[in-house]
């Protein structure tokens, strides 16, 4: 019996039985509190991923042949709920959520074998190098080039705002193999080894003061053709791939997470005797409504998938709802705490080690990263509402 078969629900196991078993696993193997030091925290997170993988509890939606659990959608939802409940960390880097689905769908047999297991186990960390200084919202204008030379590509150019680039072992990049004007018709997917000659990562400081992203430079970097995903010049359609179902199940995890964050802020307000103020209550009420709607919306996405196999309109609004909530709750926390909220971690009077202050700054990215709010609204307007395409923009 493989590990996955052991960890997986037997056909007769009910959702509640599966839940109980997961809960026991997360309790028995809980990694404890995260270390404060970023490097230690990273190593700690890797160890936890390995623990999950080694016991067959990793990759809920992944095919079994790549080390996943291949759970039914209903069981994935339970998995995500229990993950949130146990407060254990999720995957590192951008690999599992974004990269893996593309490899599963478009990678060769050999590529899947080579990349997926180590990714799932946390042995290899991935970062996603799409954006460039001149190509953000307008990704098809990217200019990093790859020139074919025998059975290698020679890559030159620059990526920017690459999350986790400093920790990455592998970069999942988009490069131009077509003419400079070819736009989305001349783009190819390459996997670049972070330690290859000519790759340089320069940490970028973000506005919180941290270094979560970086610039990545490619200077005559040689990449085996075997590390290309899909065909040459046909990388663009791959950009849209995602394990939609796994993401939808993940929405439950997020709903649970925000529920908890809101409760924590309520507790703080109560301790400080602030809940009696009618204005404070009104704002908590509004946030409570939002967090419940996030949950109901996730449930609706899930039941659409269970019933029809496809997420419906509810899924297009979920990121916008969450980013608005995330920004608002931190903003409110600051208003609520007053000047005390302004204090940094080192100040003796800081509130909860400045988590709300840090969140206020960090969540500025919620409406920028992975596509800005404005771009998402455009997409909804055109794709969901069917409004006319902006004539000044390139055809889809």
């Amino acid at each position: 019996m493989t590990l996955q078969e052991r960890a997986n629900p037997a056909p007769a196991e009910t959702g509640e039985e599966f839940r109980t078993r997961l809960r026991a696993f997360f309790t028995d193997h809980h990694p404890g509190r995260a270390p404060k030091d970023p490097a230690e925290r990273f190593a700690w997170n890797r160890r936890w991923l390995a623990t999950m993988f080694d016991h067959g509890y990793a990759g809920p939606g992944w095919p079994r042949e790549f080390g996943g659990m291949e759970l039914s959608f209903a069981h994935q939802v339970i998995y995500q709920e229990e993950l949130a409940r146990a407060r254990v960390p999720g995957p590192l880097g951008t690999g599992l959520g974004i990269v893996a689905p593309t490899i599963i769908k478009y990678g060769t047999r050999e590529q899947r074998d080579r990349w997926l297991g180590p990714m799932l186990r946390g042995d290899k960390v991935w970062a996603q190098g799409y954006s460039e200084p001149g190509a953000g919202s307008d990704l098809p204008s990217l200019r990093t080039t790859a020139r074919r030379d025998g059975d290698e590509y020679v890559v030159n150019g620059q990526k920017v705002w690459t999350t986790h680039a400093g920790d990455a072992d592998l970069f999942f990049t988009l490069v131009r193999t077509g003419t400079p004007q070819s736009r989305q018709k001349g783009i190819t997917y390459l996997v670049v080894d972070a330690r290859a000659r000519g790759v340089q990562v320069r940490p970028l400081r973000d506005l919180t003061g941290g270094h979560a992203f970086a610039e990545v430079y490619f200077d005559d970097v040689r990449v085996p053709v075997a590390d290309r995903i899909g065909e040459e010049n046909e990388g663009w359609p791959l950009v849209r791939t995602s394990l939609g179902h796994e993401r939808a199940a993940g929405a439950m995890n997020q709903a649970a997470l925000y529920r908890r964050v809101l409760t924590e802020l309520e507790d703080l307000a109560r301790e400080r005797g602030l809940l009696a103020d009618p204005l404070v209550r009104a704002r908590f009420t509004d946030l409570e409504i939002q967090v419940r709607i996030i949950r109901y919306n996730a449930q609706r996405i899930i039941s659409d998938i269970l019933a029809k196999g496809e997420p419906g309109a509810a899924s297009s609004v979920s990121r916008l709802l969450i980013s608005a909530f995330e920004q608002e709750i931190h903003e409110f926390a600051l208003d609520l705490l007053g000047p005390a909220a302004l204090l940094g971690k080192s100040a003796a009077q800081s509130v909860q080690r400045s988590r709300w202050l840090h969140g206020f700054l960090r969540t500025r990215a919620s409406t920028i990263g992975a596509g800005t709010r404005e771009i998402q609204l455009n997409t909804i307007a055109e794709q969901v509402l069917g409004l006319p395409h902006d004539p000044a923009m390139p055809p889809r």
Binding site: L207, G209, L334, G338, L342, G344, I368
Partner: protein, 371 residues
């Protein structure tokens, strides 16, 4: 009362703007943040000596030029635009106006000339643990000691409190709330700079343990003038905030004109255009509120109090909103440390929460206008 600026006002604005453009460009602001010094001495003394900015709202008999909140507002608006790193707001807008408003000739004579010529820095310490600065929050005690007084208590969020030569401390005496001057390095004073959001303006905790003090207002209760200080402070802050907000919009508009995506400037997208136009509406409205407050607080009275509360509430929100949209319009670049947008966001949020949040100012305003 009319809201209008004279030609002299426009000259003042022009003069200050040119000076600050030359002496407080972004790289200077960042250098001062890095060095943690709080000011550039040369700039500070030029401001006092050549431009007379520290003395702008100080009567001539004490070395100032005798103007009032309107002129100070013009200077602060310009300083807000460049995030000037200097103890100007604390020394001039807080302490300078407090002393000028006081009815204590001796105190004015003792300290105002130093403020006007740049040789003395000062600040006002009001808030304690609650952070609101409300009278009910004041727990610092003042007791008679020898010819003077002794202060015991803890003040928080004191702007430039770790460097100021003079601390004007609001404390509770037997006969009521009063104002006391304490030298920054006096015995019994322990000052700690607090790590806090705004990198361009430091704040401190000041612990007083029987610190020797002089009462402002002689040994009389500070009567009618102390509450008026709050109105002057709020109007000043609103002016500074609106300067910062306007600069955020300028940065966003400049960028929206040059940043191209999809083969056209991002400013040609309605989503971006509407954001910018919406901000302009808020900023101009805020400006009207701030300018009105400046005129209104020149005279003591209920009109000034309401105008100042309104301006602080409104301009706080405008500034924070403008700073957030400035980041959003800059996209990924706006999220980096190297871009100034976050310095404005930090200043905006910090000013918003100090001296009474918008919610609190709204509540005061409602009381003042009897809603």
């Amino acid at each position: 009362m009319s809201i209008g600026f004279t030609e002299d006002h426009e000259h003042l604005r022009e003069l200050v703007r040119r000076f600050l453009q030359a002496r407080s460009p972004s790289h200077e602001v960042r250098r001062l943040i890095r060095d943690g010094l709080g000011r550039d001495d040369e700039v500070w003394f030029q401001m006092a000596g050549q431009l007379g900015l520290q003395g702008i709202a100080i009567p001539e008999e004490y070395g100032g030029s005798g103007f009032g909140p309107t002129e100070l507002g013009i200077v602060l608006e310009e300083m807000g635009r460049v995030l000037l790193v200097a103890p100007y707001f604390s020394t001039v807008a807080l302490a300078g106006q407090t002393l000028t408003a006081s009815d204590d000739e001796e105190a004015r004579r003792r300290w105002l000339p130093g403020i006007a010529d740049g040789s003395l820095t000062a600040t006002l310490a009001v808030a304690e643990h609650g952070g609101t600065g409300a009278r009910t929050e004041i727990a610092t005690i003042a007791e008679p000691a020898g010819d003077g007084w002794a202060l015991t208590g803890t003040k928080l969020f004191v702007l430039d409190g770790h460097t100021a030569d003079l601390l004007l401390v609001v404390a509770r005496a037997e006969d009521g709330i009063g104002l006391f001057g304490v030298e920054g390095d006096a015995a019994g004073v322990v000052r700690t700079e607090l790590e806090s959001l705004d990198l361009t303006r430091g704040m401190a905790e000041v612990v007083l343990d029987a610190a020797p003090a002089i009462r402002v207002g002689g040994d009389r209760p500070s009567g009618g003038w102390l509450p008026r200080v709050r109105d002057l402070v709020l109007a000043s802050l609103a002016a500074e905030q609106i300067g910062g907000a306007a600069r955020c919009l300028e940065l966003a508009v400049e960028y929206a004109k040059v940043r191209e995506q999809f083969g056209r400037p991002i400013g040609s997208f309605q989503a971006v255009k509407h954001k910018c136009a919406g901000l302009l509406i808020e900023i101009e409205a805020g400006r009207s509120a701030a300018y009105h407050a400046g005129f209104a607080v020149a005279e003591p009275g209920a009109e000034g109090a309401a105008a100042a509360a309104l301006a602080k509430a409104y301009c706080s929100e405008v500034f924070t909103h403008a700073a957030k949209e400035c980041i959003q319009i800059h996209g990924g670049i706006g999220y980096t440390w190297e871009h100034d947008a976050h310095l404005f966001l930090r200043r905006a949020k910090s000013s918003e929460l100090l001296f009474g949040t918008p919610a609190r100012q709204r509540a005061r305003f409602a009381d003042l206008v009897e809603i």
